[in-house]
Symmetry: C2
Subunit: 349 residues, 2 copies
DNA sequence: TCGGCCAGTGAAACCGATTACACTAGTCTA
DNA sequence: TAGACTAGTGTAATCGGTTTCACTGGCCGA
């Protein structure tokens, strides 16, 4: 007959190799309670008598106990880790976003895991992320990337898509309102120069932001009754070099010389600026330039670049908030946030 | 008597809620083997007959099976995740490092988890990282931060310290050889102008890189027999604004006008450049400037900034390699890598 | 033909937490 | 005073893998 007083044989204490990390049973032993009670002190203290809880807490302190997250995760299926997929970390664009996202995540008790190879047509990032781990995924998808979006959908975890055009069922989205800022920028230019001499030097042809910005450019020029608009729109890449090459080419050979350039981003604008200076074309007197992003290079250029500010920090913060909210309550209706962009006029226009 | 033919009662299949993720027993059932065999196929295929392994692999494919990392980690105590602690993500400095680190980590089968609040005198980053999770930690510690270093030591996992002055027993280290690049830069300046008119506009006083760069400046000037060196060394912060303010102040009020500035980093240099332009001080004719880092802003400035290149990508790659190596064999002697810096002369000097 | 060895496999213990369920002792109610 | 209820706690099942150990059957040499 088994009685309460019949102390069962103590399991041999695990050898703990040489790592001294203490486990929940160590705490339980020291506090003279069961592991269940220790667990309750951590997760639902209201179920435990104050005196007991106090004893357990002291034991935890003394042993510097930290719950094993594997064991915990095995049960609760959550880690407090969010995955962030970015096209790359180059430049400061994504850095600013990451900075804000990380701060917000930490505030909410989460950590960020990063992956940077979400290149067009590759879903590698999602594949290589340890998805069983993650409580949620935030992906910045500025290029068409069906494979990536689909594989994020397959994860069936809380996800936030930034900048993606694809909808994904049950997924929060954040879009950048390129149009408002770009429209303001181009209006600003055509007010100061002939619409027929305005050019757009855009980023990659397939980039969603590029497309929006180019389209805003076209729309404003159409509005002004300008002609031959398509001839004055070029696409390339988001780099100083591309802007530089375009300007060197266009400013020297074109018969209709540009008097204003709306650049796809700040890097391109800086390239144009450098070429203009080299060719002796004064900015803003003979050539007005507006960039996009509000990056540090725009602030560093001379003349200081007029640019359209993109609130990257806000995007990062919001993405984490949406993701966390969705984790907390997956039944909530997915929302679609649109963050505004704002023209900041400086000296180049 | 229990015989081989006595099929035990099948455990009720877990309800799987609504998530359809398959587990190892699903695979085992489908392949007609035990879970042990499935596990062997994954972890030590040489123990399994080819035909069986093939059957198991097919079952895994068909079920899109992915091992649960919690369960796995509970046994193996490893996750394939490295923690990266950076002072911040601002600017492109750390972005470049992260980019390379992430690529290398992925190559080695690891993921990166990031934390960015390793501010001076705060060990929060290490505290908030889910350390039981991590296979290793890479920390960029450009400021004295005993608490952080100590708490990394307490983790007793593989760690790589970048830029830290503190030694940590059993820990790999990477240092930036600021001195060689800085010395070359200052020599370059004193060859072109009077050493008595050379100034150093440095970064934060407590930043290790700042200290090295400033010290190299002093050393070269002493070598030249310059006087009043300390009066010509200023420290502030790594920002365009600080360089700008310094230059505005110094170029207008100083009796002894600078003819050369060695800046603590590119941002500071760009600030100086902007102020000089505004004051009508021609660069490089009347003021020669050299920056540090080889950042994108340096390439975007005009005149293009001479700068000392810091191989951030190399640092990121190397850090991951060291960390992974140490994880694979913890008994290996910790090494200390020093990455070189290189003067790149452009148009500002 | 017999014993030893080996390759291949399965049963079951285990990792360290959470939690459903059972139990006890005290308090409240009728 | 019996019965119901409740607060506080412990026991043991469980999560999904890995790994030890035992077992089987085939092959070998003596």
């Amino acid at each position: 007959m088994r009685s309460v007083y019949n102390t069962p044989v103590k399991k041999k204490r695990r050898s703990t190799r040489f790592s001294t990390a203490s486990v929940i049973s160590d705490v339980a032993d020291r506090a003279g309670v069961s592991t269940a009670t220790v667990s309750r002190v951590i997760n639902s203290p209201e179920l435990v008598a104050d005196a007991t809880a106090e004893r357990v807490r002291r034991a935890m302190d003394e042993l510097d106990y930290r719950p094993n997250l594997f064991a915990k995760g095995l049960i609760t299926r959550s880690t407090g880790v969010l995955g962030v997929i970015l096209p790359d970390f180059h430049g400061e664009f994504y850095g600013a976003l990451l900075q804000a996202a990380d701060a917000e995540a930490r505030r909410a008790g989460y950590n960020l895991i990063v992956a940077s190879d979400a290149r067009p047509d590759s879903a590698d990032a999602a594949q290589s992320l340890p998805v069983h781990f993650l409580d949620g995924v935030i992906a910045f998808v500025p290029f068409p990337n069906d494979a990536l979006v689909r594989s994020i959908g397959d994860l069936s975890i809380s996800a936030v898509l930034i900048d993606a055009q694809q909808e994904l069922e049950g997924t929060d989205r954040i879009s950048i309102d390129n149009t408002s800022g770009a429209t303001a920028a181009v209006r600003h230019l055509v007010e100061r120069t002939d619409a027929d001499d305005c050019f757009h030097v855009g980023g990659p042809e397939t980039n969603y932001d590029s497309i929006d910005r180019a389209e805003a450019f076209r729309a404003v020029l159409r509005e002004c009754g300008a002609s031959g608009i398509d001839d004055r729109v070029a696409s390339g890449e988001f780099s100083i070099d591309w802007g530089y090459r375009w300007a060197l080419d266009t400013l020297t050979t074109r018969t209709g010389r540009p008097t204003a350039v709306f650049a796809g981003n700040d890097d391109i604008a800086v390239g144009v600026l450098n070429a203009a200076r080299q060719l002796g074309v004064a900015c803003p007197d003979r050539l007005r330039i507006v960039g996009f992003d509000g990056s540090r290079v725009s602030a560093a250029s001379s003349p200081k670049l007029s640019t359209v500010q993109v609130p990257l920090a806000e995007i990062g913060t919001k993405a984490v908030q949406m993701c966390v909210r969705h984790i907390a309550d997956p039944t909530i209706n997915p929302s679609h946030a649109v963050v505004p962009t704002r023209l900041a006029v400086h000296d180049s226009s």
